[in-house]
């Protein structure tokens, strides 16, 4: 006769970081089919966005490609918006802006945050405290307010928006970079390198960086999801890149009360596209994090 005491099964589970989706407890050895599906979707969207000008789809700006606010059908797979423009093609073209802005933002943020974090973690002391304080100030600023301020003052070009959005990611990247750098600078191979006469900078570049890059790649993926959403929010408020339209802008157009009432698909398709893309990015980033966590024991963001 078996006893069923319903005690939860004991499993090793390190406490999770407060940012980003959390890892599952027992990391699977393989990455799983959902992982590859997510990768597939990301590649699909990226590819479509990249080759959009050469795809045999309708002109996204062409007014009257279908009737006004037609539902999805054979002529217009995703229907049309309030100006009669084909939604399917617009969704693909919208991907271009959404992805581009997101990508540039994350890369800039990664760069800045990485430098700040590694320097902060390696040098410690006054520099560290100052940088940490600045990061904390940025964290306490509601990000959207900052964006509103900067964009309304400086303008709505692609680079401005991207640079502004990068601020979103810098604190997380810096914090992580700092923690990992600190963890590593205690390790033997750094001491060994220093003994051999390497300068501070040399040590940072050749010994610490390679081991820092893996967790940072995970942040890159997860952060991309965040910036895409943030850009979407800005676009919804009409504050994103002025020419061209992203998914967020499409949602803004589609969510106008009258449009929403009669033709909800005008908003729902871009929402769906954004949701699936962000979901895939989060999924891939999270799975990767689990996969590498098992190997790199002890490297966490704490």
């Amino acid at each position: 006769m078996t006893l069923n005491t319903s005690e939860p099964i004991a499993v090793e589970s390190p406490p999770e970081a407060a940012d980003g989706p959390d890892a599952d407890k027992v990391a699977p050895r393989r990455l799983g089919i959902s992982f590859w599906t997510a990768i597939g979707w990301i590649l699909l969207v990226s590819a479509a966005a990249l080759v959009a000008p050469w795809l045999p789809i309708a002109d996204p700006e062409e007014i009257g490609a279908g009737g006004r606010l037609d539902g999805p059908g054979w002529d217009n797979w995703f229907g049309t918006d309030s100006n009669g423009r084909d939604m399917f093609s617009r969704t693909i073209w919208g991907a271009r802006v959404s992805l581009m802005v997101g990508l540039v933002s994350i890369l800039v943020g990664f760069l800045i945050g990485g430098v700040v974090g590694v320097v902060s973690g390696y040098r410690r002391g006054f520099i560290d405290r100052t940088l940490s304080f600045i990061v904390f100030v940025i964290l306490s600023f509601p990000s959207l307010v900052l964006f509103l301020l900067i964009i309304s003052i400086v303008g709505q070009g692609l680079w401005v928006v991207s640079l502004t959005l990068s601020v979103l990611v810098v604190p997380s990247v810096a914090r992580l970079g700092r923690a990992i750098t600190i963890a590593f600078s205690e390790r033997e191979f750094v001491a060994a390198a220093r003994l051999l006469g390497a300068t501070n900078r040399r040590v940072m570049v050749r010994e610490i960086l390679p081991n820092v890059l893996i967790p940072m790649s995970v942040i890159l993926l997860l952060g991309l999801g965040i910036t895409i959403v943030a850009e979407g929010g800005l676009a919804y408020l009409g504050l994103s890149v002025a020419d061209g339209f992203s998914w967020g802008k499409m949602i803004q157009i589609g969510a106008a009360p009258r449009t929403l009432r009669t033709a909800p698909w005008a908003a729902f398709f871009p929402i769906g596209a954004m949701f699936l893309t962000v979901l895939s990015l989060n999924w891939v980033g999270d799975r990767l994090r689990q996969y590498f966590d098992i190997r790199e024991q002890g490297i966490g963001s704490r």
């Binding site: 006769m1 078996t2 006893l3 069923n4 005491t5 005690e7």
Partner: protein, 364 residues
């Protein structure tokens, strides 16, 4: 048998793991009379704690349990299956090894004791707290009123263990299981706690299962002793008999590991050579054979069953100590230089150390 409080019959506990089924407990049986103490002795991995947890319904869901346990006139495993709510913690309770982690750090001491009283005996908050204070006094904690509102981290290890004991006694159990209750404590405190348990047991007419790896602990305090190894019972006997007429080589080896008061200082202690087997790899035959100086070829292939060596004295061995077959086996091994399992007999001789640190003229 009238008066038998607890009857364990052929208890087996297995755990499903990726590598197969681990038999942590493989056929353990014993009886316990009301008011008696039985000591379960063994190294870590012997299955003694798992046995206790099986009785207390504390095993995880991937454990597979067989056998029968009768408490009074109730079937314990049937109660577990029926999710009986007021048995464990009431009639049968347990005290654990590490008092530093056994208590909830964010709850006051008084609350933790009073909880059993309120949940099981439905006492009011005030009553329960008052009784908790009494209990603290009974376990010998000074200033019990003050302690009630303190948190565990404000008490020393010894005091915490007393609190744990008070918690276990709250509802007046008939059986207390103490799993290595003093292992994590200072030596000076150990005796106090053990004495305390003795006194309480006697005052309340409570039965006790005392689990330990140290034969010295149970020597004066248990009525009966059961020696376990790798999930099996090796020997079982009333205490006096066990010490004077031990039969099992493992028991003999355990006894030899206890330093005696008249051993010259600086004498190297003799541990039992080898390690307990990995629970997955338990070989055929007697599990102790690889480390046993009495082992014969038969020991490696045939698992010995429990045979009787007098009233209440059972032993599972093919070549028991103090028997003709045992002495023969040992002599054969000694002349061959190795045991049947290939163990070098030289490891068993007590060595006197080469270096003497005592300065000339001082006592050795």
């Amino acid at each position: 048998m009238a008066g038998t409080l607890l009857s364990v019959q052929d208890l087996k506990v297995g755990f499903r793991t990726e590598q197969g089924v681990v038999r942590a407990v493989d056929g353990v049986s014993f009886d316990l009379e009301a008011g008696q103490t039985i000591g379960i002795v063994g190294e870590s991995g012997s299955g003694k704690t798992v046995t206790a947890k099986a009785l207390m319904n504390l095993l995880p869901s991937y454990a597979h349990v067989e056998g029968t346990v009768i408490f009074g006139d109730r079937d314990v495993f049937a109660m577990a299956a029926n999710r009986e709510k007021h048995f464990w913690g009431v009639e049968m309770t347990m005290v654990f090894q590490d008092p530093m982690t056994s208590l909830n750090p964010v709850k006051k001491v008084g609350e933790q004791i009073a909880e059993s009283l309120r949940v099981h005996l439905k006492k009011s908050r005030r009553e329960a707290f008052a009784e908790a204070g009494d209990l603290l006094e009974q376990v010998g904690i000074p200033e019990p009123g003050k302690r009630l509102t303190q948190y565990p981290h404000e008490l020393s290890g010894g005091l915490r263990q007393r609190v744990v004991i008070a918690m276990a006694l709250a509802c007046g159990p008939r059986l207390l299981i103490a799993d290595e209750p003093t292992t994590a404590l200072d030596v000076t405190v150990q005796k106090h706690i053990l004495d305390l348990l003795d006194d309480l047991r006697r005052d309340r007419g409570m039965a006790m299962i005392l689990i330990t790896h140290d034969l010295g602990v149970v020597k004066g305090r248990a009525d009966e002793i059961m020696v376990m190894y790798a999930g099996h019972t090796m020997e079982e006997a009333p205490t006096a008999t066990l010490f004077s007429e031990m039969r099992h080589p493992y028991t003999e080896a355990l006894l030899e590991t206890i330093p005696k008061i008249d051993t010259p200082s600086h004498t190297r202690l003799v541990p039992i050579p080898g390690r307990p087997p990995e629970v997955i790899e338990i070989p055929d035959g007697c599990p102790f054979a690889p480390r046993c100086r009495y082992s014969t070829a038969r020991c490696l292939t045939d698992r010995p069953g429990l045979t009787s060596h007098g009233s209440g004295h059972a032993c599972a061995c093919h070549a028991p100590v103090g028997t003709p077959s045992g002495s023969e086996a040992r002599a054969a091994n000694e002349s061959a230089g190795t045991t049947a399992a290939g163990l070098d007999m030289a490891q068993f001789t007590r060595k006197v150390p080469v270096i003497d640190f005592a300065p000339p003229g001082a006592e050795g």
